[in-house]
Amino acid sequence: MSTTANQKAGIGSVLWDYLTTVDHKKIAILYLIGGMFFFLVGGLQAMLIRIQLIVPENEFLSAQFYNEVLTMHGTTMIFLAAMPLLFALMNAVLPLQIGARDVAFPFVNALGFWLFFFGGIFLNISWFTGGAPDAGWTAYAPLSVFSEGHGVDYYSIGLQIAGFGTLMAGINFLVTVINMRAPGMTYMRMPLFTWTSFIASVLILFAFPALTVGLFLLTFDRLFGANFFNPDMGGNAIIWEHLFWIFGHPEVYILILPAFGVFSEVIPAFAKKRLFGYSSMVFATILIAFLGFMVWAHHMFTVGLGPIANSIFAVATMAIAVPTGIKIFNWLFTLWGGQIRMTSPMVFALGFIPTFTIGGMTGVMLASAAADFQYHDSYFVVAHFHYVIVGGVVLGIFAGLIYWWPKMFGTLLNEKLNHWFFWLFFIGFHLTFFLQHFLGLMGMPRRYWTYLEGQNLDLFNLISTIGAFFMAVGTLVFLYNVVKTQMKGEKVSGDPWDARTLEWSIPSPPPFYNFKQEPLVRGLDPLWIEKMQGNGKIQPAEPLGDIHMPNRSLTPFMISLGLFIAGFGIMYQGGMWVLAGIGFATTLGSMLYRSLKDDIGYHVHKEELEEEGDGSNG
């Protein structure tokens, strides 16, 4: 099971290892590879969009193809890049941060990954079978219902499969945090990344089923002649918008909260101070999540819900700025008077704070319903959400990846290249999106394929496209860094950043059972406490004993594969119905197998453990 054994093993056995793994650290790597792959695909689509818009009346892409690229860019980035990359971080560190040997549901965790994986592949097969979805990532009815071909069917079924996976992952993290914490790891001692991931999981649990239903209705309308969104038959297209945004607004907080968590780890570590206002951070996180469910209609101000509904949703939306502001100030106060080390994760954090603040500010502008009639569906909205998503979520993901890279792989990414990556990406980002605020205010609608000459839109669009190239080059620098670092394979210690939390108290990468003995947690930032008051090592909470571990399993892969196959049957119908039969039989058969076959795991015996060092980071 040790890493050296893996390196010697052939490609076939490595593949089998990853296909059947239920180890959260390996699942993290799977999520990382999957998420990065789709991040690059989505990035390529972004470049195509910006090249099309570089000059007025450009014909680089056809209008139809542009719609497909635009739709897939948004869908891919949200569902197939940002979410899995966050899950990669959560899987890699959340159990370690709470001193757990494993997650609550290792099997379900693997299932979550494979569902995401097959959902993502399913969506992208549409490129090769007659056209990708083309109704925008929000797939508003009735456009999405009447969109020709099967593109939107790939959207509704692909996201359905991936969405089940997200739900599985969310439930797993919820129970992991509640039931698997080490002795002494009380809720109010949990690291902020664990807290925010925990709350994001609550949001997943209550938000994703609304999307599930929306996607079912869309599928039924398109493929089975239902009339949910068809006004001729009594249907109502606005139902889609409600369901989508009841899911969609919590979704943006599902994305940003874990990123907030990353920065709340990075900033104390490199300011050498405990997080300022820890309990208010926890409180603000919960408040954001709570309010996040009550603001969905701010995406629908122009629908005509009436002035009263609009006012209520406007006020609720603006209220979210308060807990968000609390967080911003807490980060600033943590920096205040700290011994700041300008490592690359810290530089990402420092870039994040002003960028995200601008995004929040435009958010409050959008939230004033009357003004939103001007901003809505213009490039102003595009600028807003890229400031929060790229300036918040994406910077957070990369800060987290760089910060925890040593924990995941035992190597340290080259700091110089990390800084290059940051500056290229950061400057490119502001070049690309800052001017889009003004493009929007000047009346450029979002999602249009092209624009006319002589409307003063040319220069800003040109600059925006140039910025996008900077971001692309920055990303390539990061990739180069990853390849270079892994080729070199230079190992670092278990605690290369001199950090504060539990995950840094064990070797990098950790043994498959994480903690040889359950750690005893004596307060917030437990490792730092031991460094200051003890011998720098976490004290064990139990004598050395046998460790229970789960068995590997191919079943999660099979369950997901079945749904993937069934999707084609449902979509193409006719003779292809047989695929639905095969697919559902595979899925249900695998579930039955899972339910009926005893799977009680195995034990690593004390004697084996005694041979392998003391389990600390040294």
Binding site: L167, N179, L205, A207, A226, N227, S595, D598, I600
Partner: protein, 206 residues
């Protein structure tokens, strides 16, 4: 110790929560039901928005008869009660009686499902009220059909567990499985109470 969970007899008082795995399952399943609640809430919301949108097709008061639905309600509510008995016997470590009451639960559930299929058949053939007839019909079949599918899934789950464990009896490994099966069954039952009220009662008198 790992093998101990497969031993039957001499179980603690709450066998479904005696192991960490059992407690995890128990809690994870509660969360899952929380998600299911949002799923059905979304379906109910959609139905409420479309319940009068029959687009010239049959309307609720034209087709619903409360008699059959009342019997279905009684069957399903009773089956919830019988599954409680089954869990009671599980806690008393009486496997035979647990199986018996689960068997009764399954029979009642099958009765419910059979009547639902008859009901749908009747609507389609007696009233030409199909899935594609109107927005109302789509919403009706989707909401009630999702519930029906849950019933069918729950029944298959119970039957599978009963057959699998018939010979070896209760142990710490399968007790949580039976228990969350019954949780699921209660949830389905509660959803039906809402369907009965929102779809049928409101459709008939509202």
């Amino acid at each position: 110790m790992a093998e101990d969970v497969l031993k039957s007899g001499d179980l603690p008082e709450n066998p479904e929560r005696a192991t960490l795995e059992g407690r995890n399952k128990f809690m994870g399943f509660w969360f899952f039901l929380g998600g299911e609640t949002v799923l059905f809430a979304s379906l109910f919301g959609t139905f409420l928005a479309l319940r009068n949108s029959n687009a010239g097709g049959p309307a609720a008061e034209d087709i619903f008869g409360l008699g059959l639905v009342f019997i279905m309600t009684v069957l399903l509510l009773t089956s919830s009660l019988t599954s409680v008995y089954a869990m009671y016997h599980m806690k008393n470590n009486d496997f035979k009686k647990m199986q018996l009451w689960l068997g009764i639960t399954v029979v009642l559930g099958l009765g419910f499902l059979g009547m639902e299929i008859y009901e749908f058949y009747h609507y389609v053939h007696g009233y030409e009220f199909g899935f594609t007839t109107s927005a109302f019909s789509s919403a009706f079949y989707t909401l009630v059909g999702f519930h029906g599918a849950h019933v069918a899934f729950g029944l298959s789950w119970f039957v599978a567990l009963m057959i699998r464990n018939a010979k070896r009896g209760l142990n710490l490994y399968n007790a949580p499985k039976f228990y969350i099966g019954s949780l699921y069954w209660h949830f389905i039952d509660v959803v039906w109470v809402f369907i009965f009220t929102v779809v049928y009662l409101l459709g008939k008198v509202g």
